[in-house]
């Protein structure tokens, strides 16, 4: 009686499970190299009085490894080159590269190394890791959503908020928000 109920429940759960998730678990496993083509790392910082300013990093590299049996053992490594920051306003770019913000000359890389990946839905996961910028490391969280899987290419939409003051980049607060809103599209190619 008990076993029958459990079996029914399991069968129902299997039926209810979206096909997409099944595809992900079955086919997504593997190692991917993040490619700049098809990827974008954008950010927005709110301004006092409304609005904000947007920017993006043009150069970055990284890898995504998805574990077939245990999503929690998946890994993400991302390196961003702050020298490549672009806002559409040259004077602001120069300011961001300078020691007022990124100090790109002395700290040429911003690194993210994931420490844990937790599934939060059929196609979503919470990625926790250590972010290092200007010699300071703090734990940060990003939400990743699977945006597509075709052939050997996987695409994620990643969002998250980072407090810039912790990384010695508090210049301009409270005129400009301490919260940096990241919005990334990361496309990985298998291999």
């Amino acid at each position: 009686m008990h076993a029958r109920t459990l079996g029914l429940a399991a069968a129902a759960a299997c039926l209810a499970m979206p096909v997409y998730a099944a595809v992900v678990l079955g086919d997504a496993a593997g190692s991917y190299t993040i490619s700049q083509a098809g990827s974008a790392i954008r950010f927005t910082i709110g301004k006092a009085g409304g609005g904000g300013f947007d920017g993006a990093f043009a150069r970055f590299k990284g890898t995504i490894r998805i574990d077939n049996n245990d999503v929690g053992r998946s890994k993400v490594d991302l390196t961003i080159y702050p020298e490549s920051v672009g806002t559409g306003q040259g004077r602001i770019d120069a300011f961001l590269r300078s020691d007022a913000v990124f100090d790109a000359a002395n700290s040429p890389e911003i690194q993210f190394r994931s420490t844990s990946v937790t599934r939060t839905g059929d196609t979503t996961a919470l990625v926790t890791g250590r972010l290092t910028a200007r010699g300071k490391t703090f734990p940060e969280k990003f939400n990743a959503e699977l945006d597509g899987l075709k052939g050997g290419t996987i695409k994620f939409h990643v969002t998250g908020k980072v407090l810039r003051s912790r990384y010695g980049m508090d210049v301009g607060t409270p005129l400009y928000s301490n919260v940096v809103d990241f919005d990334m599209t990361l496309t990985g190619r298998r291999g």
């Binding site: 301004k47 006092a48 009085g49 300013f53 602001i92 210049v171 301009g172 409270p174 005129l175």
Partner: protein, 189 residues
């Protein structure tokens, strides 16, 4: 309490305090303006510029108050020791000083309003000061930057003349022109 307002023979405390407060901040703004555009650290420069903007808005408020006070109060006449030429030119110089006190903060406000950097103004981090309704562009920004710059140079020359005239009255002519702008009681002739 009676020494707050001006009378027919002397300046009151309100005029005196406004005069020195505006004067000190005005001179401070000259120095800050020169330093901030020559600072190599971008961070320090940014912070100095925001301070310059805060003080500029404070100055604009003070100068509006000062002009209102001047218009609503008696202005004590110049002492008899003042010669004919100076009696004619001093009011013009003072009018020009008031015009510059208004024009400098206003041109600075116009500059930040049209700047393509779109940096908000937040005096002393207290509140957001809206921009003047002027279209932003690189051309407008360089125009107002030059205007602000030339107005500052002209003001420095005028303030220097004003200071020299006050010192001449005090040390050469030995009249009450300077002392009556220091306390209300020292000039009651």
């Amino acid at each position: 309490m009676q020494t707050i307002t001006n009378t027919a023979t002397r300046y009151g405390w309100a005029s005196i305090v406004l005069h020195w407060l505006v004067g000190l901040i005005f001179i401070g703004q000259f120095i800050l303006g020169f330093v901030m555009v020559r600072t190599s650290s971008q961070r320090t420069a940014f912070e100095l510029i925001q301070l310059h903007k805060s003080l500029g808005f404070l100055l604009l408020g003070l100068i509006i108050l000062r002009i209102a006070w001047r218009l609503g109060n008696a202005t004590p006449p110049l002492p008899p020791s003042v010669g004919t030429l100076e009696r004619r030119t001093a009011p013009l110089a003072h009018l020009a000083l008031y015009a510059f006190q208004l024009a400098l903060p206003l041109s600075g406000w116009a500059l930040v309003s049209v700047s393509t950097l779109e940096i908000p103004s937040m005096p002393f981090n207290l509140f957001v000061m809206p921009n003047l309704p002027l279209p932003e562009s690189d051309a407008a920004e360089s125009f107002w930057a030059s205007a602000h710059w030339y107005l500052a140079y002209a003001s420095i020359a005028l303030v220097a003349l004003h200071i020299c005239a006050a010192l001449r009255h005090h040390f050469l002519l030995r009249d009450s022109v300077l002392t009556r702008m220091i306390t209300p009681s020292s000039a009651g002739e």
